[in-house]
Subunit: 332 residues, 2 copies
């Protein structure tokens, strides 16, 4: 089983766990026989959920009796001890028993317990939370999304290298990288961004093409593949995009089904509307990736369903097969 | 004509000016006979555009031969001199000849020339660029959108008072005010935001209800009427929302018209789709408002059409009738 990707799964985090997590694993397994799942959670419940649905050679169950709660502060979560499903899953990556760890649980806890257990990659000062974002031509990588509220030019510079490595490991393509700013002219923005611009320009990076600045309204035009930002701005941008998407699709629904003609023609057009919905399905780009530590840590959205979780498992295997960590180390 | 709102109009800024500007004035005049337009621009062209469409008692033409260019830096724009249409329009407000000034031209130039000519309201340290933003229940006011990249707690506190005054002058309602942040818990965010939170809480403002923090995904749920942010974050949020809206409506168009069934049912559903489009029409909330100076300055989007410009003229008259400046002074 040497070419298998060994994924440590915290089965106790997120809404409707562990059922959602196990259903996600089963769904993932049905389309991918190259993943091995080391599952941390309540053994009895999980055994019942998984029974006969996956051959035993594809998974291992580790019984845990303690877990991180969704409302825990990161400190409280860490204090719950080393026997939580989250801690043990992370530890199995630390011990090189697994290649990558995934959880749909408490984000702050996951970041802090990961930092407590895993080493930073040499010369990286801060790890970053990154995610995939849909655009007109495909997907882009955006980071940081909230792990670091304040960032130095060196941090943002590191993020550009890590983001580029992540993009390459997922899509095997040389990306265009840009800094999120409030104007595209060289003079705009705050001092940190201007210095980062200079830093990237001066270093003549070969790993990516530097596209300079990008504004919020161009995030989705698909010309840039990696978007770099401090965690505060990136978080606001991502959440604003989510909020806008919800607002618009709700307004659309209201408009399209507000009267009989609307209902009938929407029924007629169901196939197209479904295509549209599928294109924007947040489950497609579920999963934030915490990078900068010597093993990648994947955070699935707590509210996603088993299909979303299965997609995050796909991200896990693609990252490992794409040699993300090695690529980051080569860049730094 | 004492109850008239006297609007100074820079007719030479923005795409397709002065035609768009004059058509906007004519359109505005047709539904509102309580505005007087003092128009600054090339007299001969404008006379030709306006002839007989508005009675001469409703407007005055001031010939200008110089103008600010869209690609001018703010400094270059100021250096073009006091005979540009933009400068002269602003000056007419400074001289109390007009109540309010509007331009669809270069934003940076408008901010700088306004600051050069108009006094700050006492005890306000920085003026802010604010705009209207659609939400599920109506419209909210968002500020700052890019006039101030870095802000102190005092600045953000001032913005909350100015934003509240703007909301009241437009909608005559006590608003809920919130700070844009990356979490809703009291502990989240950077130091500036946390201090602002404390400042607003301690002062026990009676002019608005303080709702604490708001995250990007809640911007459009309509529970908050005034959203306060530094100019960098606010600008990124606004533009990201714009970009997301464009992305989604384009994807929708592609999905709905990708095949014959789609085209037929969309045709059937044209009325509803139009209703949807109208609800999201950016012309409805065209116009940013620069507040903090002793006269309000309105910036129409350079790329909007005459209907969008006419809507911005409406915003001008509502602001003046709502006594915006007086309300701000009372709040400070």
């Amino acid at each position: 089983m040497t070419d298998f990707v060994k994924i440590a799964v915290d089965a106790m985090g997120g809404d409707n766990s562990p059922k959602k997590i196990i259903d996600g694993i089963i769904h993932n397994h049905n389309s991918n026989k190259k993943n091995f799942y080391k599952i941390f959670g309540e053994k009895k419940i999980i055994e019942n959920l998984i029974k006969n649905k996956i051959d035993k050679s594809y998974f291992e169950l580790v019984n845990t009796t303690n877990k991180v709660h969704s409302e825990d502060s990161p400190l409280e979560a860490a204090k719950r001890g080393k026997d939580t499903s989250m801690w043990m899953a992370i530890e199995s990556v630390k011990n090189k028993d697994c290649d990558i760890v995934i959880s749909a649980g408490n984000t702050g806890a996951l970041l802090v317990i990961s930092k407590l257990n895993l080493k930073m990659i040499e010369n990286i000062d801060k790890p970053a939370l990154s995610a995939l974002w849909p655009n007109k031509k495909g997907m882009s990588v955006v980071l940081d999304l909230g792990a670091n509220i304040e960032c130095s030019p060196k941090n943002l510079f590191d993020f550009s290298l890590m983001g580029s490595a992540l993009y390459r490991s997922l899509y095997d393509n040389k990306p265009n990288v840009a800094l999120l700013n409030i104007g595209s002219e060289e003079l705009k923005g705050n001092e940190t961004i201007k210095e980062t611009f200079k830093l990237i320009n001066d270093k003549q990076i070969s790993d990516f093409n530097f596209s300079g600045y990008i504004e919020g309204n161009d995030l989705m035009n698909g010309n840039v593949n990696v978007i770099v930002s401090d965690g505060f701005t990136g978080n606001v941008a991502l959440k604003t995009a989510e909020g806008t998407a919800n607002f618009i699709t709700e307004e659309l629904k209201k408009a399209l089904t507000g009267n009989l003609i609307g209902k009938i023609s929407s029924l007629l057009n169901m196939y197209n509307l479904k295509k549209f919905k599928k294109r924007l399905d947040p489950r497609l780009y579920n999963g934030a990736i915490f990078i900068g530590l010597d093993s990648p840590v994947v955070k699935s959205h707590g509210g996603t369903d088993f299909i979303g979780f299965s997609n995050s498992l796909d991200v896990c295997s693609r990252i490992i097969k794409g040699n993300l960590i090695e690529k980051i180390k080569n860049n730094i």
